[in-house]
C-alpha cells in the first residue's frame, strides 16, 4: 500500500464483511505532539478472543477464496515502521475498534494520501447500506463528514450517483484544505 488512505479503505472493507451498519473513521494529526492517530470503529459482528489473537498474523484470513489475510497486519506494520503502535479491540456482537498511531514526522511514516478518494470509493460500494462518519482533526481544526446527514438532504436520491460522488469528493477535499489552512494559523 502506497499511503495510509489505501490502508484505511482496505480496513473499512473488513467492516462491510462484518455486517456493520456504521463505520467511523477518525484521523487526528497532533502536530505539536508529533503524533498521527488513525481510528476505525464499526458496529459489525466483532471477533472473539481466539480470532483476535490471530488477525495480525499475515497468514490468517476468514476468506475462503484465498488463504492469506494481510490487511490488518500491513497496517500494523506501517504503524510500527513509523515509530508507532497498533491496537485492536473487538467484542462479539458489538463491533471492532482499531487504533494505529504514528510518529508524524517519522521518515518512514507513509503519507496520508487521498482520504476523499477513500471515503468516496467506500460510498460507491457500500454507501447505500452503511453509514460512514469521517472526522479529521489537525491540531484544533476539525472537519466532520457524515453520510447520514448527506442522505437526509438527498431525500431518497441514491448517494452513490456519479454526480453526487463528484460533489462529495470535492466537498471533502475542500474541508481538508480548510483545516490545513486553519491549523497553520
Amino acid at each position: 500500500m502506497d499511503d495510509l488512505s489505501l490502508h484505511v479503505l482496505d480496513i473499512i472493507e473488513n467492516s462491510v464483511s462484518a455486517g456493520a451498519t456504521i463505520v467511523e473513521v477518525e484521523i487526528v494529526e497532533e502536530i505539536r505532539q508529533n503524533r498521527l492517530i488513525i481510528k476505525i470503529d464499526d458496529n459489525g459482528r466483532g471477533m472473539n478472543k481466539e480470532i483476535l489473537a490471530k488477525v495480525l498474523d499475515p497468514f490468517y484470513t476468514q476468506k475462503t477464496v484465498r488463504r492469506v489475510g494481510l490487511g490488518l497486519s500491513m497496517l500494523a506494520q506501517a504503524a510500527k515502521e513509523a515509530g508507532g503502535s497498533f491496537d485492536i479491540r473487538s467484542t462479539p456482537g458489538k463491533g471492532t475498534h482499531i487504533k494505529a498511531t504514528f510518529v508524524h514526522d517519522h521518515i518512514d511514516r507513509k503519507p496520508i494520501g487521498d482520504m476523499a478518494e477513500t471515503i468516496c470509493a467506500f460510498i460507491v460500494g457500500s454507501g447505500i447500506n452503511i453509514d460512514m462518519v469521517y472526522r479529521h482533526r489537525k491540531d484544533n481544526a476539525e472537519f466532520v463528514f457524515s453520510t447520514a446527514d448527506v442522505k437526509k438532504m438527498l431525500n431518497g436520491v441514491v448517494i452513490n450517483h456519479p454526480e453526487i460522488i463528484a460533489f462529495l469528493k470535492q466537498h471533502i477535499r475542500d474541508g481538508l484544505d480548510e483545516i490545513s489552512e486553519r491549523s497553520r494559523k
Binding site: 489505501l6 472493507e13 464483511s17 456519479p162
Partner: protein, 127 residues
Amino acid sequence: MKKLKIGDLAKIRDKVRKTAVLRQGKARAKITVHMGTCGIAAGARSILSSLLEDIRKKKLDDVIVTTSGCAGLCSREPMATVEITGKPPVKYVDLTVEKMRKILNQHIIKGTIANEYALAVGSERTH
C-alpha cells in the same frame, strides 16, 4: 474556486433526481470493481474513481458501478466484472485506468467484449 458547502447538494439532488430513480430501477449494465486488499494495493481505487468520472461525464444513466472483495485471483488484480443484462458476465484482469476506459467505450457502450483484456475467452480448446 468557491468552496462547496454541503447545502449546495440540494441543487445537484434536484438535477439528478430523475436519472437516480432510473438507476435504482433496472440498469442495463453493472460494473463491479474488485476491492480486496490485493485489488486496492494494485490500484483498484484509481480505476473506480476514473470509471465513475467517465460515466458521469458521458451521462451513462443506465450503468451502475459497485465494488466487491477479493475474488481469489490476486496476481491478476486490478480486476473488474462487467455484466450486461441478459449476457454472461465478463471478468477483466490486469487493469489500468486506460484499459478500463477502453472497456467502457467498447463493451459497455458499444456491446463488444474487449477480448484482449478479458481473463479468458473460452476456457478450453478441444481440437
